[in-house]
Amino acid sequence: MIELSGVTKSFGPNHVLRGIDLTLPRGQSMVVIGGSGTGKSVLLKCILGLVRPDAGRITLDGEDVATAEREAFLARFGMLFQGGALFDSLKVWENVAFRLQRGPLKRSREEARAIAVEKLRRVGLKPETADLFPAELSGGMQKRVGLARAIAAEPEIIFFDEPTTGLDPIMSGVINDLIREIVVEMGATAMTITHDMSSVRAIADRVAMLHDGLIRWTGPVAEMDATPDPYVQQFIHGRAEGPIASVR
């Protein structure tokens, strides 16, 4: 279980997170929604230790992530980055098997490649893709490779940062379905940040809405449509009128 209490983060005068309290139960898929620039990515990066919070506490199964042994802590996570964040200089299979070629999870080159090819197959990519470089792939294929890399070491917790941004609706649907299938299949705890409502409905067990540096609302996805919270209602229906300023 991941718990955040009173997490704040500012960049100069810009107070991005103003005291986040959030609980992500083990085995659940939580989707954090919110407008662009509301600090969703910063929230994920704070949990992973990529950004250090100014105040507050983040724990993973009761252990403070700030004092946890970094390698063991990170070994429990997989992450799909918004742009894929694939390493340009490495072939697709080397990207997928990155974690399996170094560190405590190191396998032989042949074994790592075989696992990579299997993970690529799992995300719907042919074995021939394995020997291409990321620059030779389309945006949708790069997302799938990023997804394969996130699950290659079978992590307990997977983060998805805007998994469908920049994709057409069909490819977005494919990625959403893949994420849902993989999370269920692996029994992983997942946190996804997005402003794509189709992703929310496809992926989420629970939803949290981030606005103005605070969690405005959180609850099961089934209750999202019925909540009277005006911020949630404006956001999920994409209305220009409402408490969320359209010019930010």
């Binding site: 990066k45 992973l48 230790g49 990529l50 970094r70 390698e71 990170l74 070994a75 996570f77 997989g78 992450m79 980055f81 918004q82 742009g83 964040a85 694939l86 390493f87 340009d88 200089s89 990155f98 974690r99 170094r102 560190g103 890399r149």
Partner: protein, 264 residues
């Protein structure tokens, strides 16, 4: 405005950039210290090191060779022309050798490496930062300092002395070609004079300078790449600052090393 306020404003105008420059140097020194510490502690990434050896060393050979041969040739012409004023044309082989090996070889190779390698490293790492590849490395339990900086800095420190050695030889050869084909020197005498005049400390100092310049060029590329701002402008800014800083630090280090090694 009173005279006192004017003086204070002037001093503040001078002090601010000086303080900023000193703070920048301090950060680079800390980064260098961290790099050296990581150099001694596993894990070591052999494949990345070998790739850096290729990029920094082998692929820099053409540019280093061309720079050295033209510089050696021009140096021979200048020494001959200048030497004529006091009937000292005969010293061309000796001065070309000492000029190339002690000074021009290491400095020009250092600057060419700064132009070719520092820019390439800074742009590559900055792009990795902008596209979240550095964050991805961290989430894959890989320390970017160990994976990106250490192999490049080690490769630069080991291969730039070799490049300097090659540059020295090619530069002297450039002088030899001009001296013998254009200025009428006897080939055997030219070579003999060159070899007789050069001493081991000249060559050793050249290689030491090469190692220091290689360390600076690669370290600065990594440092500014890692500190890049966002977007294409961030990558461009990081690359420009890295090359300018590396070039200045190489020239400053050259002065310091020359002072230490040749003024006793």
């Amino acid at each position: 405005m009173t005279a006192g306020a004017l003086v204070t404003g002037l001093l503040a105008g001078i002090g601010r950039p000086v303080l900023a420059a000193l703070a920048g140097l301090g950060r680079i020194a800390l980064y260098a210290g961290q790099t050296l510490l990581h150099l001694l502690r596993p894990p070591f990434y052999l494949r990345e090191f070998l790739s850096a050896l290729l990029q920094v060393g082998w692929l820099s050979l053409p540019v280093v060779g061309l720079t050295a041969i033209f510089t050696g040739g021009a140096l021979a012409l200048q020494i001959y022309s200048g030497g004529q004023r006091f009937s000292a044309e005969a010293v061309v082989p000796q001065i070309v050798a000492i000029g190339m090996v002690r000074e021009l070889g290491p400095v020009l190779v250092g600057l060419m490496v700064a132009a070719r390698v520092t820019s390439s490293i800074a742009a590559e790492i900055a792009t990795m930062k902008v596209t979240e590849q550095i964050d991805a490395l961290v989430t894959l339990s890989t320390n970017p300092m160990k994976y990106l900086t250490v192999p490049r800095v080690l490769a630069g420190t080991l291969t730039v002395p070799l490049l300097v050695g090659v540059g020295d030889v090619i530069g002297v050869m450039g002088g030899f070609l001009v001296g013998t084909e254009q200025l009428g020197f006897n080939r055997a005498t030219y070579i003999q004079n060159t070899l007789d005049f050069l001493e081991a400390p000249d060559v050793i100092s050249s290689l030491i300078k090469g190692a220091v310049f290689g360390f600076i060029a690669t370290l600065i590329g990594c440092y500014y790449g890692m500190r890049s701002g966002r977007g294409a402008q961030g990558v461009g800014g990081a690359t420009k600052t890295a090359v300018a800083t590396a070039s200045i630090l190489i020239l400053a280090a050259n002065f310091l090393l020359t002072s230490v090694m040749f003024t006793s």
